[in-house]
Symmetry: C2
Subunit: 412 residues, 2 copies
């Protein structure tokens, strides 16, 4: 049996490296007598590569080669990845993808295609890099009704927030350091605006709750507005700010999902995740909280997840794995402002005494936070639990204060 | 398709509860048109149970009923569990077990029997309770060579150590509290002497490294000799004492494994695990460190792991899952004292000045630890890295000090 790899970037070349290095045990674990790499598709030339003879530029060579039963898609982006993957599935080839944009946007369509053609479409590497999460959710937690899922899904932003929290680095300096270390791209928008985390929580929510959740359907906030002032106030609360992707089941046919900075207890299983690491918390009715932790990105961790999927495809060569979800429905994803939450609010006021009177009158009981050397007119507090829309309306009704920052508080 | 449950204790009754409560989605996920509970085997009577009509006392009814394709063994203990499970496998029934003693002692034998009879023998619940670990190791990490595995595998001892660390409770008081809370049995030996953790690390090591590791082959220490003095000294080192099961690959055909209290950094992924929670760290060549965290015991978490295995057996009814390991070989498990480690040593000396001169001469550089209100003749330090046997010999050669406590230091 042969495999082909499409896209020889960081992940693709890592796949070839892991596949070659651990080849013997991979073949053994795949229950095949042979499992070899036949083609690498890339538009670029790699004349000095040890696999130089396997490079091709024409996708049709893979498509028309019946010996290629498993195709790895590590090209990234929607096009032509979507067209290539669709064609492979229709041609009866199983596909393994690390492409979160593809899965988050076209997952339902591709899973349906895979089902129709009795092949597999697997994408463990698309969420959490090397952290096993897709398979544990589908299999190990099969006996649970999952109520909620929440995760630190983007290593770049977690690195930036860690530097802000632990070294009081400004957002801009931390971003620059992340770029210098190769953790952030030159254009860091997808990471720092939360789009990357958004795609991942869409995939997880689709899997946990059974209907496709599209990136456009969910509220997404990044971390660009987080300041050191917020980090310090939150620290006095024994908590930290983390960018979380979250999804929660409200009823049989309603969920809520979002990506935003959240306040998390410092020494909880999510609060204790530092640097570029990822962690995903799954809350099930029987199992309680389970957390999966590991490197969410990087060449070899991501590649190892891809290769594990390849092994699984080879093992299930003659039998489709049962795996999939339904399409979305109107209003399946509810308005996130209807969710109950506590809010952290940082604000300024010319007349602080009057401001606190108004706050007490509007919000009732609050928890006041502190930071060193705060400007005289600044303060921060945490509200009681209520629907977010109610809290926001209350906040807007207080004319004596100018809000600077609002962050959701979680119970993680 | 029918299932039978043998043993209606905490886990067995939990299995029936989860199976009944989430029955519709369980049937759907098992890809069967029907999946029902036919028998519950227990020597006791449960006249008021909702499933009262399913109770039987004669194992042969299950054995001889060809409609029963999956048997759940939640009896615990070696006998008659081993005989019952063997008979079921030979009769062509798949078996799901939560019985760590059975798997740790007879795993190779039972997996071979399963293979010979083309059925499955699954035991996700035997390690880490509800935490998914067996399946992620076999599948998600299939592309990795696993170098090392380490875990907090026993909730009772972790609860006791947490109380000692966070509330300065004595070992005896913490044990009593654990018993009052139902976390420890009246006879707590299996937990506090490390036997329970030993069985679990045997199962994990067998799975990770491919040969059966028997409980008798590995060095096992409990936590009964840990004192508050040790807890306090270690705290000054920003670390905590945890009971760890560990196994490490030394070469293709050699491993080392043990259970003992270990010193772990406070805010690491293992150090940050509190109360009755479990966590398992897997170190792979491609993936780096991955950690799985959750409730390691308890009725519903454990039951949910059992039911997930039942679903898997049903899905693979006509096809065995590839899963197993070879038998052990002489000297496969190496002498643990040949492992390199740092050691924490607490000791007393009548002449402390002389003692520190001797220590410096024998050990070279050391790190001295502190605690409040230590007796004048007491001290504690951490050695540099060396083979444990070398360090022990050095320690024994110093005549001017009386060692009170020695604990291994890890890099987790």
């Amino acid at each position: 049996m042969y495999i082909a790899v499409m896209g020889y970037g960081t992940v693709g070349s890592g796949v070839v490296e892991v596949f070659t290095k651990n080849h013997d045990s991979i073949v053994k674990r795949s229950s095949q007598s042979e499992l070899d790499l036949k083609y690498i598709l890339d538009i670029r030339d790699f004349p000095d590569d040890p696999n130089a003879d396997k490079f091709i530029k024409d996708f049709n060579i893979i498509l028309n080669d019946d010996d290629v039963k498993i195709v790895v898609e590590t090209m990234g982006g929607l096009h032509p990845a979507f067209e290539f993957v669709s064609s492979c599935l229709k041609a009866g080839k199983s596909v393994v993808s690390s492409n979160k944009e593809l899965v988050a946007t076209k997952g339902y369509e591709l899973l349906s295609l895979a089902e129709q053609n009795n092949v597999n479409f697997l994408f463990e590497a698309s969420v959490g890099g090397g952290v096993p999460i897709i398979r544990p959710i589908t299999q190990c937690l099969a006996a649970n009704e999952i109520d909620e899922i929440a995760g630190i899904l983007n290593g770049t932003t977690n690195f930036i927030l860690t530097k802000m929290i632990e070294e009081s680095m400004s957002f801009d300096d931390a971003l620059k350091l992340a770029q210098e270390n190769g953790y952030a791209e030159k254009d860091p928008t997808a990471d720092i605006e939360g789009f990357d985390a958004c795609r991942k929580i869409c995939i997880l929510a689709s899997l946990c709750f059974g209907r496709h959740v599209y990136p456009d359907d969910i509220h997404t906030e990044g971390i660009t507005h987080i300041t050191l002032a917020d980090v310090e106030y939150v620290n006095s609360y024994n908590a930290v700010i983390k960018l979380l992707g979250r999804a929660k089941r409200l009823s049989e046919d309603k969920i809520v999902a979002m990506v935003s900075p959240c306040i998390v207890k410092s020494f909880s299983q999510l609060g204790n995740v530092h640097d570029v690491f990822n962690a995903i918390l799954v809350r099930g009715d029987a199992i309680g909280d389970v957390v999966f932790y590991g490197k969410g990105a990087g060449k070899l961790p991501t590649a190892s997840a891809v290769v594990a999927d390849v092994i699984d495809c080879a093992k299930h060569a003659k039998r489709k794995k049962i795996f999939g979800w339904d399409d979305s429905e109107p209003d399946y994803v509810s308005d996130y402002t209807q969710m109950e939450t506590e809010l952290y609010i940082r604000a300024t006021a010319d007349d602080k005494e009057k401001a606190f009177e108004d706050i007490a009158e509007t919000f009732g009981e609050i928890t006041v936070l502190y930071r060193r050397n705060a400007p005289a007119n600044e303060f921060a507090f945490i509200t009681e639990l209520d629907k977010e829309c109610v809290l926001t309306e209350k906040l807007n009704s207080i004319k004596s204060i100018t809000p600077c920052s609002v962050i959701r508080v979680t119970d993680y």
